[in-house]
């Protein structure tokens, strides 16, 4: 189909419908996804020459992608509820502030490091829901607490939750981690520093931000560097988790310095969890340690890796062609590694953690039922949204709509300006759809094609896309609403939203500047 303003608008129509419904009419992701899915199939069939057979096959391809993503979503939620039901999350959150008497550093520990750690382990709004009430306990106002917790973990979304969003980017573009990880990790490493600075700025002002700057730079170098090393050496699923753990370890060392030293735990071996029962910090941490050991072991030990890689599920697809001549070559669909998938690793870790906590007597009657109920409640709704959005994105991609959108963007912005636009598109997608994951589904292929058409480095543009998505997702209304509900700010979501947008745009602009600079320097071109 020739590129004209009208045809470009037609190709953009499904995305516009999702954006308008979510942003304008405040629809949820699953309902808006269905509307976008319907629009995409109708537009592809009526205007882009996609026949029934092509559209049917796109939905099967989409289901494979959906299963790949949802496997992690379900298992990550399971692990979180296994730990939360045992009181482990609560205990870790209470132990951290006791390490130092410097309040601004306590704010950094909870709002930046602990929130990022939670994003690595669970995600899906958990970092804000858990960290914000703890920050209020330190004396920050509820508005400050929600902003700090939201912005603090923005850099960790892409490689957090077992790198769900990053895996989605790999799935929709068909590019491996070795290609996509370096640029993504560099952009997010830069954003990590910006997020830490904003947390101190919001909580304790400019003066404290500059006072703590050396420590913030050191911690962001440790976390950004760890995330880069993990993600570029095959352990991208633990990129954010490993980085946050390394950051927490260095932060604990910093709290040994005289200026920061606190009362510690006063020799106490147990802390009181939210339900009033004593809990050992080490037992609380053991569940997460199990995940780290399992993930590193399965990824880095070749014999284990080969063993779990045996059972893969995928389907072959024939060549497809639209009535207008757009051809999708024959291909294998997304391959799902049943026993070695990040979702499988999370499931094993959940089982090990559950056994540890149960043996320690941390569960009350009916805990298993509550864990499974809470997991399924969270998983079903988000899975429906993912399925509809993925179905829409694959239909658009296979009918030539994404290609046309990319052609329009490449002509509209030009090669020199586009690198700065790429993270803004990623952030916009995440802000509106509420997730880095959905942003990558919607715009991953679009950015890929645009980069190819403009002759820009594909890893650079896709790294900017997912970094922008990571930082944009923390400003999404859905996350802010979760945070506000945990600190009694139910009626002031608009105020918090406005402030998060002001503070949150800084890290996104930093990524835009980095992308522009790298492009001008010829990085990956």
């Amino acid at each position: 189909m020739p590129l004209t303003f009208f045809t470009w608008l037609l190709a953009f129509l499904p995305v516009a419908v999702v954006l308008a419904l979510m942003l304008g009419l405040k629809w949820g992701g699953s309902r808006a996804g269905v509307a976008g899915w319907t629009t995409a199939l109708l537009t592809a069939g009526l205007f882009f020459g996609a026949g029934a057979r092509l559209l049917a096959y796109t939905q099967v391809k989409g289901t494979l992608l959906t299963l790949d993503v949802c496997y992690v979503v379900w298992a990550a939620l399971l692990l979180y509820h296994v730990a939360n039901e045992a009181g482990a999350v609560d205990v870790i959150g209470k132990a951290l502030p006791a390490l130092t008497r410097e309040r601004a550093f306590q704010g950094l520990l909870l709002g930046w490091l602990f929130a990022s750690f939670l994003q690595g382990m669970g995600g899906f709004g958990v970092p804000v829901a858990v960290s914000a009430p703890l920050l209020v306990g330190l004396g920050y106002t509820p508005v400050q607490a929600v902003i700090m917790a939201c912005i603090g973990h923005g850099w960790a979304v892409n490689f957090g939750s077992m790198a769900t969003s990053f895996q989605t980017l790999m799935a929709v573009t068909g590019l491996p981690a070795e290609v996509l990880a370096p640029d993504s990790a560099i952009f997010l490493g830069g954003a990590c520093l910006a997020c830490g600075m904003v947390v101190t700025l919001v909580g304790d002002g400019w003066k404290k931000m500059f006072q703590l700057l050396p420590g913030t730079i050191l911690l962001s170098a440790v976390m950004g560097g760890t995330q880069y090393l993990l993600s570029t050496h095959g352990v991208y699923t633990l990129g954010a988790t490993g980085a946050a753990m390394a950051g927490l370890a260095v932060a604990i060392l910093i709290t040994r310095l005289p200026a920061y030293r606190g009362n510690g735990l006063n020799g106490a071996r147990h802390l009181i969890s939210g339900n009033g029962r004593p809990r050992s910090l080490w037992v609380a941490l053991s569940g997460y340690a199990a995940l780290v050991i399992l993930a590193f072991g399965m990824n880095l030990i070749p014999s284990i890796n080969r063993l779990v890689d045996h059972v893969q599920f995928s389907l072959p697809f024939p060549e497809l062609q639209t009535g207008l001549g757009f051809v999708v070559p024959a291909e294998m669909g997304r391959s799902i590694n049943i026993f070695g998938h990040p979702g499988a690793i999370l499931t094993y870790a959940s089982l090990v953690s559950y056994l540890i906590y149960r043996r320690a007597g941390y569960y009350e009657t009916g805990a298993l039922k509550r864990i499974l109920d809470n997991t399924s409640q969270g998983a079903v709704n988000s899975s429906l949204g993912v399925a509809a959005m993925v179905g829409m994105a694959v239909a658009m991609s296979n009918s030539g709509m994404t290609n046309l959108l990319a052609a329009g963007l490449s002509q509209g912005f030009g090669k020199s300006a586009y690198p700065a636009v790429a993270p803004l598109i990623g952030a916009l997608g995440a802000f509106i759809t509420g997730s880095n994951n959905n942003s990558n589904v919607l715009f991953g292929m679009l950015q890929y094609r645009t980069a190819e058409l403009l002759g820009l480095g594909v890893p650079l543009i896709l790294g900017a896309q997912t970094a922008g998505g990571s930082l944009g997702s923390i400003m999404a209304p859905a996350k802010v609403i979760v945070g506000c509900s945990t600190v009694g700010l139910g009626d002031n979501e608009g105020v918090v939203m406005g402030k998060i947008l002001i503070y949150g745009i800084g890290p996104v602009l930093l990524v835009a500047l980095l992308a522009l600079a790298f492009s001008w320097l010829g990085w990956g071109a």
Binding site: R31, A35, W37, N381
Partner: protein, 59 residues
């Protein structure tokens, strides 16, 4: 953390049915397409559309 504290039982059941259909129907569709069975393919595609309608209603 309970993500959906106000999810009503009927809505949760509708969502569970929608999810089962949305993830299951495409595999029937694939088998029908591969075997060239057009009526069966139409049936499974209709199930997929039904699952989207249920998603919309329960969203």
């Amino acid at each position: 953390m309970n993500h959906h504290p106000r999810t009503r039982p009927w809505r949760a059941r509708l969502q569970a049915v929608a999810l089962a259909l949305i993830l299951g129907a495409p595999f029937g569709l694939y088998a029908a397409l591969q075997s060239g069975n057009a009526p069966l393919a139409v049936f499974f595609f209709a199930l997929l559309v039904l699952s989207m309608a249920l998603t919309y209603l329960s969203g």
